[in-house]
Symmetry: C2
Amino acid sequence: MNTSSMPQQKALSEELRTLLDDPRGHRVRDDAETVRAFSRDFGPKHDDALPRAVVFAESVGDVQAVAAYAHQRRLPLIARGAGTGVSGAVNATDGCIVLSLERMNRITEIRVDDEVAVVEPGVINGDLGDAVAPYGLMYAPDPASYRQSTIGGNVATNAGGLRCAKYGVTRDSVLALDVVLADGALIRTGRDTFKGVAGYDLTSLFVGSEGTLGIVVGVTVRLRYLSTSQESISALFPTIADAAAAVLEMGRRRVQPAITEFLDAGTMEVIDASFGTRLAERGGALLLVRTDGFGAEAEAGVVRAALSDGGGQVSEPGDEFAARLIEMRRASRGDTQDDDYRVGEDVAVPRSRLVSYIHHLSEIATRHEVRLRVVAHAGDGNLHPTFWVSPDGGEEALGRLNAALDDSVRGALEAGGTITGEHGIGQFKRRWLSWEQGDRVVELQRQIKHVFDPHGILNPGKAIV
Amino acid sequence: MNTSSMPQQKALSEELRTLLDDPRGHRVRDDAETVRAFSRDFGPKHDDALPRAVVFAESVGDVQAVAAYAHQRRLPLIARGAGTGVSGAVNATDGCIVLSLERMNRITEIRVDDEVAVVEPGVINGDLGDAVAPYGLMYAPDPASYRQSTIGGNVATNAGGLRCAKYGVTRDSVLALDVVLADGALIRTGRDTFKGVAGYDLTSLFVGSEGTLGIVVGVTVRLRYLSTSQESISALFPTIADAAAAVLEMGRRRVQPAITEFLDAGTMEVIDASFGTRLAERGGALLLVRTDGFGAEAEAGVVRAALSDGGGQVSEPGDEFAARLIEMRRASRGDTQDDDYRVGEDVAVPRSRLVSYIHHLSEIATRHEVRLRVVAHAGDGNLHPTFWVSPDGGEEALGRLNAALDDSVRGALEAGGTITGEHGIGQFKRRWLSWEQGDRVVELQRQIKHVFDPHGILNPGKAIV
């Protein structure tokens, strides 16, 4: 085998085709359109780096062969799912190979009585949900991108979603992983049972590691019961403070909704524009709540009372519009693809700090003269403020935007929160990671990275600092 | 500072007393009674190793000082909570210092609106539950030892309990950890928010690592809502197979009890002997089920129907005896302290394999002429078979007992299960760990251990191989 460390573009693709027995280039592509399309995720990209080749893996063997090749040649290797992330975690870096796992999209097993499924990494989140629904089961993690994003990508970012406060995040549903290590070796972590404590929790270590420790090629997930009854409630409040206070009041009444979404006036305007609703003229903040399970109706009653006592205009029992609003909220993601001038943030704060933090965000927006709207998974304190400026403002406007972002992240940390609730560090949040983590934690993570990937080929420059 | 690597017993205690400014020996003890009492956990101990000193830490600073000292002198250091484990995880090894965290037992903070508590490691599990109950909150993980065991010990073993199927294990309730590393440095992992994905999940790595990666000195936990309504159901079945089938049938009806305990005839006899009940004469297996939350009553109705359809003699709604039976089951642990001739196992299998696996256990007991009884957290497939032989049988009987244990563990793995559901590897399960884990996983764990503890001082010979 040729051991030159940096083969030319064509030579590299040819080598990969030979390696994968793919003479016609079905799995190894290097045309301009493909390399551009696979050079980034849904967020902004600040450079022109392109992959030297894109490999569409169709088997575990493909992944092992490409990893071993990249390991030997010291070539950066970026595994990706559907690329729906927004933190730059799969953005191409100089000289990299991109490894797409989209074609590994089989649901390998659904074990109904065990309430477990085994999937390849390229399975779309919503497709798994559809496949298990006839059995009365669900795959709980439901990022807003659930109709596009893959389970493998969800694992890489430890994706959250709307139902997390009740059903947990991706990590809480992952029992076992098949992982290809940097050198091409295949390992299995975790177990097929709900409980198990043998050895260190390598499964959780891989979940959320953004492809920097290994490449997930198989995921064993725990399924939950699909509720046959659910109640959706909407409540419009005069002010943001009223709505945030109502979230705490629901908690004080010890009811755990499956979904608790907070939308400010700006977010209501987006929904109004997309769906022809007229929400924004009716109030300053909107809460959308869903209860489910055997207690759905009783819980909904408690929720409605709490929201009404808190000054909300609350939907009537059985109101179908409330349910539709939740679907509109889910679907409202696509309209806000980030670019350099519009950045969707993803911080989390302790729930009791929601009011003061949203107030703080408004101050930041005013101070830096940037626009702001806020949506939040209020049940777990996870906020998505979107800041934007007019592109006409050029560099000066970008400076104000970035200053606002810095302040918003600093504020979240000062409130006892985190710089990322569910989107991950990727490329863009690395600048803030050392604000959250101590030097020794940073150093331990580097050492763990070195254990798994001694040559640093796996998604370099992402996830940790 | 004296750098001799193995100071004599008295010299070592004196040095520790000087180090901790404890001239009277309140915190540093080396008397025979103390070193013997702190040389083991609740399980058997196969050697006479005693600690050279026992340090009762009263502050994070104490822990840091002792760790730094042990690190510098290359002395084995074993941190422990209440010592209620049964896998030998805190058993003394030659030349070790034992570091008890029992005195660090303050509940530092209860943040009601955030549904979070911060505790020192020595807080008793049940004491935290008592402290948060007035707020309508609970700390969900409830190992049978919850009145004796500490949160720190629960974290070290990733303890389970009765409520796991619905509320998760210890890992699922831990948000952040303060950890003293092997060299005495203090780090903080995780975050105070329910969600957060910044960096690698070091929190989960420490949870369940049995004191081999660091010493947990602070735990931030998520609290759950304490249900105001709960329903307890008991059902006696003619055979074990009937009871196990009924567990699956409850699942098929998509009801998620908080507790689902399975007891065989032998376990019923233990309860009968302890509490004067007459369960064993009425059936061959017992299921104890508890539903909670807003849907408790509706769920209990579904449960009763499923159990009755499955041939169970089911308790009436509101039957207080069913609730008392669950408390008897919890309290029945103490009578079975393990010794060389009686070993309580802790395997887990996929739920659909419960029937065949329990049948397999009976075959094993018959083949090796050992006694057997089985209790299981049936909702998550976690079984505790207890095997025993008469001490009169001597070495020959011990040989049969160990052969039965080996077969039971092998059988659990063949059924797709794990060698430990919630007790941990400790000393005793290391002989089976490589049956479950591949060579590369074993090696990765060793490398991770080396990152955190380069001199191998932290609880050597435990948790991994």
